[in-house]
């Protein structure tokens, strides 16, 4: 179980002259889950878009399951089982829930499993069953997030990147998402989870990485260290907190 699934080495990327990632390195073994957190605009989304092939890196290397995917196209990456569920993804406004789920199984490796994956998606997210023929644009925020997650599952992922799946959700809806996400986890899929909500993250992952100004500035291992709120607050709000209080 300690076989390596993903390794990112010295990744640098950005938009034109504006560099967002300044050498990010981390790895993830099979069956492990890691969480990312950190203030907005510090490169989390850029990091995952680079891993999933939407943005080209300017330096560094990405290895997935022993294969170098640094320059692979996004569809080849999905085909290998590395699936990225983007943040606040609006999906396809004029398509129905059912159509989106079918498209989720677009990669060849998942097409044969369409039926069983659909059953699984509907059993994890029963709410989607009732909405199966509604267009995406009529879905509520919570339903969209569920559809996002379910669509990611349809591709038979081996590693699922979830970028802020609870963004904009009420506390009650957030709570509702904990169970499905841990179900996904228990089905043998590795997770990279991004969250602003630390408590939520700690429920689901073994390791926490803090991304700050395009660098990983803190790594917290949940098993070995006692997570201190005070410490994280400091990282999060900057030194000013301790100075002022």
């Amino acid at each position: 179980m300690t076989e390596e699934l993903l390794r990112v080495e010295g990744l640098e990327a950005g938009y034109g002259a504006y560099k967002v990632l300044h050498g990010v390195s981390f790895d993830l073994s099979n069956g492990q889950n890691i969480g990312f957190f950190g203030p907005n605009g510090h490169g989390k989304t850029t990091l995952f878009e680079t891993i999933s092939g939407l943005i080209r890196q300017t330096a560094g290397k990405i290895i997935f399951d022993g294969t170098d995917i640094t320059n692979a196209s996004s569809d080849a990456i999905v085909e290998m089982g590395l699936v990225h569920v983007a943040q606040g993804n609006t999906l396809f406004p004029d398509m129905t829930v059912m159509e989106v789920l079918q498209l989720g199984a677009f990669p060849k490796r998942s097409r044969q499993k369409l039926r069983s994956n659909l059953d699984r998606a509907f059993s994890i997210f029963p709410r989607l069953t009732a909405r199966r023929s509604s267009k995406c644009k009529t879905l509520s925020g919570g339903e969209r997030q569920m559809l996002n997650l379910a669509t990611g599952l349809m591709a038979c992922p081996r590693l699922l990147i979830l970028d802020e799946p609870t963004l904009g959700l009420s506390p009650r809806l957030k709570e509702e998402l904990v169970r499905p996400i841990s179900d996904i986890e228990n089905s043998g899929v590795s997770l990279i989870l991004v969250e602003q909500d630390l408590e939520f993250l700690l429920l689901l992952v073994q390791r926490l990485l803090l991304l700050n100004h395009g660098r990983i500035t803190k790594r917290i291992d949940r098993q070995s260290e006692q997570v201190s709120h005070q410490e994280i607050m400091e990282e999060y709000f900057g030194v000013a907190v301790t100075h002022e209080s």
């Binding site: 999933s52 092939g53 939407l54 196209s73 996004s74 569809d75 990456i77 999905v78 085909e79 699936v83 990225h84 569920v85 983007a86 993804n89 609006t90 999906l91 396809f92 406004p93 004029d94 398509m95 159509e99 079918q102 498209l103 989720g104 677009f106 990669p107 097409r111 644009k137 669509t151 591709a155």
Partner: protein
């Protein structure tokens, strides 16, 4: 208006509508998926007609024209792919892509139009009809068998297109690319392949319209320019990026045009159509049948 005149207006309206629908659905498909407006779309109609003619000359005129049309479709799909590769692909990511592709597709139009002239010369040509003879129904209504084929086959092709886009996984992936490219990529859809496919499909639909048209009237290299302008009006009426709206609008405009020509004459009809188009754009730019417009770049 006598019954006779009414039925003949109705018929010419139906034939026009069918051709507009084939042309406009391709134009709309390219717009929806790639977000660009293909001004070379109309000339593809002429290319389709000429290619069909050339094939029918090569394989011999004893063969039914339908075989030539089938081969032409293959050629058009490839030509569409080539056009996408040459005229559109180099400009992805260009911040002025809408404008630059207006220019490159206009240049493509010039190229193809003059290309036809260069290859096939200025002599007028005509394709044989799909079926010879006339059809008369109760003496009320007489039309050529070729027109009848156009009226019947075009909707069948469009229904086929509708089913392809809505019920096949490849069709769905094309629609997905049009609605959200990034999300489509993240689902493992190869966006550039979808683009090429879309262009090929649009070229094939237009080519079919051209082959039909070539059996009705004499062919010339600019035969597609007026239908393109009509297709543009159709696409606006139907709502950009809305295939079923486009098809409905094609039939609406076809009939409207036929009746306007009958009632107010050939001269005022185009002016009125353009005026309608401007008003639709101002007050309902999602089109008459559209519910939501694609947000433009």
């Amino acid at each position: 208006m006598s019954l006779d005149a009414f039925t003949s207006v109705l018929l010419s309206g139906l034939v026009l509508s069918s051709l507009y629908a084939l042309l406009a659905s391709g134009l709309s498909l390219v717009w929806t998926t790639l977000g660009i407006f293909n001004f070379a779309h109309g000339v593809l109609m002429a290319v389709g007609a000429y290619v069909t003619w050339q094939i029918s000359q090569s394989i011999g005129e004893t063969y039914w024209i339908g075989y030539s049309i089938a081969l032409m479709i293959v050629v058009m799909v490839m030509l569409g792919a080539v056009l996408e590769y040459v005229l559109i692909r180099p400009f992805y990511g260009n911040k002025n892509i809408v404008l630059v592709t207006v220019m490159t597709t206009l240049a493509g139009l010039t190229f193809l139009e003059n290309g036809i002239q260069a290859v096939w010369g200025p002599r007028l040509k005509q394709l044989p009809p799909l079926i010879d003879g006339n059809i008369s129904i109760h003496g009320l209504l007489t039309l050529s068998a070729h027109e009848a084929v156009i009226i019947v086959v075009s909707p069948l092709i469009l229904i086929g297109l509708y089913y392809f886009l809505n019920y096949s996984i490849i069709g769905k992936s094309i629609r997905a690319v049009g609605q959200n490219q990034k999300a489509a990529k993240l689902m493992g859809i190869n966006v550039s392949r979808s683009f090429i496919l879309t262009f090929g499909l649009a070229a094939a639909l237009t080519g079919i319209a051209g082959a039909f048209y070539g059996g009705l009237r004499l062919m010339n290299p600019t035969m597609g320019s007026e239908p393109l302008v009509k297709a543009l009006i159709v696409v606006i009426f139907g709502g950009l990026g809305n295939i079923s709206g486009t098809i409905a609008a094609a039939y609406l405009i076809g009939f409207l045009e036929a009746f306007l020509i009958y009632f107010i004459g050939l001269y005022w009809t185009p002016s009125l159509l353009f005026l309608f188009m401007i008003f639709v754009l101002i007050f309902r730019h999602e089109g008459l049948f559209g519910e939501s417009a694609r947000t433009t770049t």
